[in-house]
């Protein structure tokens, strides 16, 4: 008898664990793990910095404290936070369904191309500020279709989306490069970049580069929270992510959902590209996607796909990204250093979480399983 219930719990636990996230009783424990992980990663990073002969406190001051110090530096942080947050939302949708969308970078490129196409066209010029929503729609459409390729190939050709989204990144980067060298190149300039787009996103405050994009990003995060936890569609995504067998049992058509979810994911990552053009760069240029694609993935994983968790981890990552350039200038440590920190933080968190959810040892797993059984 006892053995039977145990078995039931084990079957359910994977699913229960995924949807329980931060809301469970283990909240304090999880928070502790996250803080410890960040601390451990910083400690290892400090050793590396010492080897380079750089004072860790100076480096971490630039990474963690300076981005929050002044009004204008918070503005700088916000323009990095916007694409990270939007990418993280897109990626979280996909990861919630156990789809690893690693194509953020490529989708950002496509979104940026969409925005620029509208913004530099005659139509865009005549529309003025109204070209912005149109450009964003184009960006969302382009990126959704681009991400949809990976969903389509997964559904109909059973090719792993991990590989296809990565391959699509390399192709999108070249597509963007081609766009700025040939069709979208500013005819008056010598540098391979597009002309300025017709309108820019309005800035929110004087003396800071913070723009309307951050509001759009926060709205996107709210949409994510509502869709995932308050709608049938979100529930289906979670079922699909929890267990494909359960999804089949519930009559969810996997093939169709894979395509829909990838497209939805692309809508948000595409918006990240659109806002990077319309809010920050004002034109299309190479290297625009930067590392936002992967950073978005890290934010989603670090926040464990929970809306609040992802928002907080996005802020941390945006601080690291915006601080890393100052650090590079002042201490000579490459901005790529933060990649190492990010990877270590996620690895330590995974390790910590696995230690508290070990079957038979952790309370958390049983509780969440029990809750699921009741529902």
């Amino acid at each position: 008898m006892e053995k039977q219930t145990e078995e039931k719990q084990d079957n359910k636990s994977a699913f229960g664990e995924r949807i329980s996230r931060l809301h469970e009783e283990g909240f304090a424990k999880k928070l502790l793990i996250i803080l410890l992980s960040v601390f451990a990663a910083l400690l290892i990073g400090a050793v590396f910095l010492l080897i380079l002969g750089v004072d860790p406190f100076t480096a971490y001051f630039y990474l963690l404290i300076r981005p929050f110090r002044s009004f204008s530096s918070i503005g700088e942080l916000s323009i990095r936070l916007t694409p990270i947050l939007l990418t993280a939302v897109g990626v979280s949708f996909a990861f919630s369904a156990k789809l690893s969308n690693l194509g953020g970078e490529g989708q950002i490129c496509l979104g940026a191309i969409g925005m620029t196409l509208v913004g530099t066209s005659a139509l865009g010029e005549s529309l003025g500020a109204f070209s912005l929503p149109l450009g964003m729609a184009a960006a969302a459409l382009f990126a959704a279709l681009w991400a949809g390729i990976a969903g389509f190939v997964k559904s109909f050709f059973k090719a792993s989306e991990i590989i296809t989204t990565l391959l699509l990144n390399y192709i999108a980067l070249q597509l963007l490069s081609w766009c700025v060298y040939y069709p979208l190149r500013d005819p008056e300039g010598n540098i391979p970049q597009s002309a300025k787009i017709a309108a820019e996103l309005p800035r929110l405050f004087e003396g800071s580069r913070m723009n309307l994009g951050i509001i759009i990003a926060i709205a996107a995060m709210i949409i994510y929270a509502v869709v995932m936890y308050r709608t049938r569609f979100g529930f289906k995504i979670r079922v699909l992510g929890g267990s494909p067998e359960a999804a089949r049992y519930a009559g969810i058509k996997r093939t169709r959902y894979y395509i829909v979810i990838m497209c939805l994911s692309g809508v948000f990552t595409g918006l990240a590209g659109a806002i990077e053009v319309a809010g920050t760069q004002t034109r299309l240029l190479e290297g625009l996607a930067g590392s936002y694609g992967l950073t978005g993935v890290v934010a989603a994983l670090l926040g464990m796909l929970d809306p609040i968790g992802v928002t907080l981890s996005s802020i941390l990552l945006a601080a690291l990204e915006s601080g890393s350039e100052a650090m590079q200038v002042k201490t000579g440590v490459s901005s790529l250093f933060v990649n190492m920190l990010e990877a270590l933080i996620v690895l330590f968190i995974l390790l910590g979480m696995s230690l508290i959810s070990e079957p038979g040892k952790g309370l958390l797993r049983k509780k969440s399983a029990g809750r699921e059984a009741k529902a």
Partner: protein, 313 residues
């Protein structure tokens, strides 16, 4: 068009194609074994990158390419141990851990290069592997020039593929590997120890990825450049699928991609009507299309990517 079809164009093209395919062969032979044990080593790209640097450092300071390449293999293996611990022992998502290993590698290699070589304008260099002419075979016209006038790692890569196929198909250990990837529970009841086999899968793959990285820095370039693996690790994953988890077919699939890469470089250099971006993207486009055409995952090991719970029966 005729200029493409001359021997002077084609023979160096295919010879370069063979060279370019070597990292793909080594990586995907490793990946075949890892995936046969049921684990997906997405961190292959990161292992390759770290090994490219470590092998270069090894060769630079010891003055011996062989030692450098060995260092590369070992560093790939060590990096794979991270994935193994997280995925096999702690049962974490293999793709997530792999992505993190790749991310870590980008930062780590940048750090290590700077820590050792500092910021200098002149790039540190080592001699590259010499090519070895195989007697008799290298005298065959065309074929000899393409296949039998290469450096030692080219031959080792092909021999490893054949040897791996032999081990997988014809030995007891190969059977244990296959069982672990197909049905770990059944394998366990038959007395196979699943965890060590999966650890072996990761470590073998890491070692092969390491040699692949060493081939890039010590084998053909003679220097380390930032992010020099450039997505080859991901192409290895695709090659593995296309080869249907058969190491010898990996060689053929890798040759195809290697040749496309070599062709891409040559077409770019010749100054064609088409924009250069098209050629840079070409290998990735070919990979994507071939995944759609031939990449049906039906031959994948059944338990691929699923963590194995010893306690769970």
């Amino acid at each position: 068009m005729n200029e493409f079809l001359t021997a002077a164009f084609l023979i160096p093209l295919f010879a370069a194609g063979v060279r370019m395919s070597v990292p793909l062969i080594l990586g995907s032979v490793g990946e075949v074994v890892a995936e046969k044990t049921g684990v997906m080593n997405i961190g292959l790209e990161g292992q390759m990158l770290i090994a490219a640097l470590i092998s270069f450092i090894g060769a630079y300071f010891t003055g011996s390419l062989a030692l450098g390449i060995l260092c590369g293999g070992l560093s790939g293996m060590l990096t794979a141990l991270i994935s193994a611990f997280w995925c096999v022992n702690r049962k974490q998502d293999q793709s997530v851990v792999g992505i993190m290993v790749n991310l870590f590698a980008i930062g780590f290699t940048n750090f290590l290069y700077r820590a050792i070589f500092g910021v200098r304008t002149d790039r540190a260099k080592v001699e590259i592997l010499e090519s070895i002419k195989i007697p008799v075979l290298s005298d065959i016209p065309v074929i000899g020039e393409i296949f039998f006038d290469q450096n030692i790692l080219v031959y080792i890569a092909v021999l490893m593929a054949v040897f791996t196929l032999y081990v997988l198909k014809r030995t007891r250990f190969g059977l244990q590997i296959e069982a672990t990837g197909e049905n770990p529970k059944a394998a366990r009841s038959a007395g196979v120890r699943v965890k060590p086999v999966r650890y072996f899968g990761y470590m073998f793959c890491g070692f092969m990825a390491g040699i692949a990285g060493a081939f890039l820095s010590c084998g053909i370039v003679g220097a380390y450049t930032e992010n020099m693996s450039a997505g080859r690790g991901f192409i290895c994953l695709a090659v593995t699928i296309l080869a249907r988890w058969n190491p010898v077919l990996s060689v053929l699939a890798a040759l195809l991609f290697g040749t496309v890469q070599a062709l891409q470089l040559r077409l770019q250099a010749m100054g064609s009507e088409l924009p250069y971006q098209f050629f840079v993207a070409l290998p990735y486009i070919v990979t994507l299309l071939s995944l759609m055409l031939f990449g049906w995952n039906i031959h994948a090991p059944k338990a691929l990517g699923k963590p194995y719970n010893e306690e769970q029966r």
